[in-house]
């Protein structure tokens, strides 16, 4: 008997289940990494917060404990609302926002700066007094 036939007999025709679940992880690899990174931060925050359990966290957020279990596995597509609630319940930031072009403080234009410096240098308390009187 060929080894193929012997192995088939040995397995009784049964198959592994890995492929059924693999699609989800392959197709969603990108956002699942975000979910996993958030999950790690939730777990760390729970470890820091004395007495915090999955049940307590579920009650604070208003979800079922089974949902929290999925969140901690990094398998949930979390809404911003849920991330905010989890963050509030744990007292930690779970996501942060990178700097972008509108994050920078507005710098005075270089020509205006020059004028201010010029005026300041030339001004005296008398000047101000005069200006005020005017």
């Amino acid at each position: 008997m060929s080894i193929q036939k012997k192995m088939k007999d040995l397995s009784n025709g049964n198959s592994s289940h890995w492929l059924k679940e693999a699609d989800f992880f392959i197709e969603n690899e990108g956002w699942l990494e975000y979910s996993g990174r958030i999950a790690m931060r939730i777990i760390a925050a729970m470890e820091e917060k004395q007495g915090m359990t999955q049940s307590k966290l579920a009650a604070l957020v208003g979800v079922k404990v089974q949902y929290i279990s999925k969140v901690l596995k990094g398998h949930e597509n979390l809404s911003l609302k849920t991330i905010y609630k989890l963050s509030e319940a744990l007292g930690v930031d779970l996501i942060s926002f990178p700097e972008f072009k509108y994050s920078q403080p507005i710098q005075p234009k270089s020509s205006e700066t020059k004028v201010v410096h010029f005026n300041a240098a030339k001004s005296t308390s008398k000047d101000y007094q005069l200006t005020a009187d005017e």
């Binding site: 060929s2 080894i3 193929q4 012997k6 192995m7 088939k8 007999d9 040995l10 397995s11 009784n12 025709g13 049964n14 198959s15 592994s16 289940h17 890995w18 492929l19 679940e21 693999a22 699609d23 992880f25 392959i26 690899e29 699942l32 990494e33 979910s35 996993g36 990174r37 999950a39 790690m40 777990i43 901690l72 596995k73 990094g74 398998h75």
Partner: protein, 194 residues
């Protein structure tokens, strides 16, 4: 041959409908169970664990000392988790491609896995996706243990997150047990040595 003879294990195909051409098999241990208490084959069980960030975080946080050596160069726990998770996704994707493309499995398996030791296999790190990843400078961290039979057939007996050179004792015992069983049934003609 009846699987009733196997009072501690069963063997299943890993390729679903392709069972007639399947060459990669997975062991079902009666003490490895899913959340509902049903026996689960070891490949599915390993993938479940390695896809679970809470499991990976717990594992690496308990093995931080082993990350702090010359080999892993003090990789952070977070990076180790992400690396392991990326590897398992790549493993699943490459195994799936074998199923969908109906490759000749023994050839295709050689593309997915690289044999490191007699019974130790890892993701083939020479693939473009692996090399271009953030963790391309590090070797694969996940291991599958398998017994090679005739005609390119392999039976996966277990797996591990490999941070040290030595093989986990539980995995070693599993491998030995399956080898002994296969030998007693006339499937395996090699040495019983992991």
């Amino acid at each position: 041959m009846s699987t009733d003879k196997l009072n501690f294990i069963n063997i299943v195909s890993t390729f679903g409908a392709n069972i007639d051409t399947c060459k990669l098999w997975s062991v079902v241990y009666h003490d490895v169970l899913d959340a509902k208490g049903n026996p689960l084959d070891i490949l599915t069980w390993l993938f479940k664990q390695w896809n679970d960030f809470s499991y990976l975080l717990n594992y690496f946080s308990q093995h931080q000392n082993e990350l702090n050596n010359n080999f892993w160069k003090g990789m952070s726990v977070e990076d180790a988790v992400i690396k392991a998770n990326k590897e398992v996704t790549q493993l699943q994707a490459e195994l799936k491609s074998i199923v969908l493309n109906r490759y000749e499995e023994d050839f295709a398996l050689r593309k997915v896995f690289i044999q490191l030791e007699r019974n130790e296999f890892a993701l083939n790190a020479s693939t473009e996706k692996f090399r271009k990843s953030k963790f391309g400078d590090y070797p694969p961290i996940l291991r599958l243990y398998a017994i090679e039979l005739e005609e390119g057939h392999h039976i996966i007996t277990g797996g591990d997150i490999k941070l040290t050179k030595t093989m986990n004792i539980k995995e070693r015992n599993r491998l030995l047990k399956v080898q002994q069983f296969l030998k007693s049934e006339g499937f395996y003609k090699g040495e019983i040595y992991p």
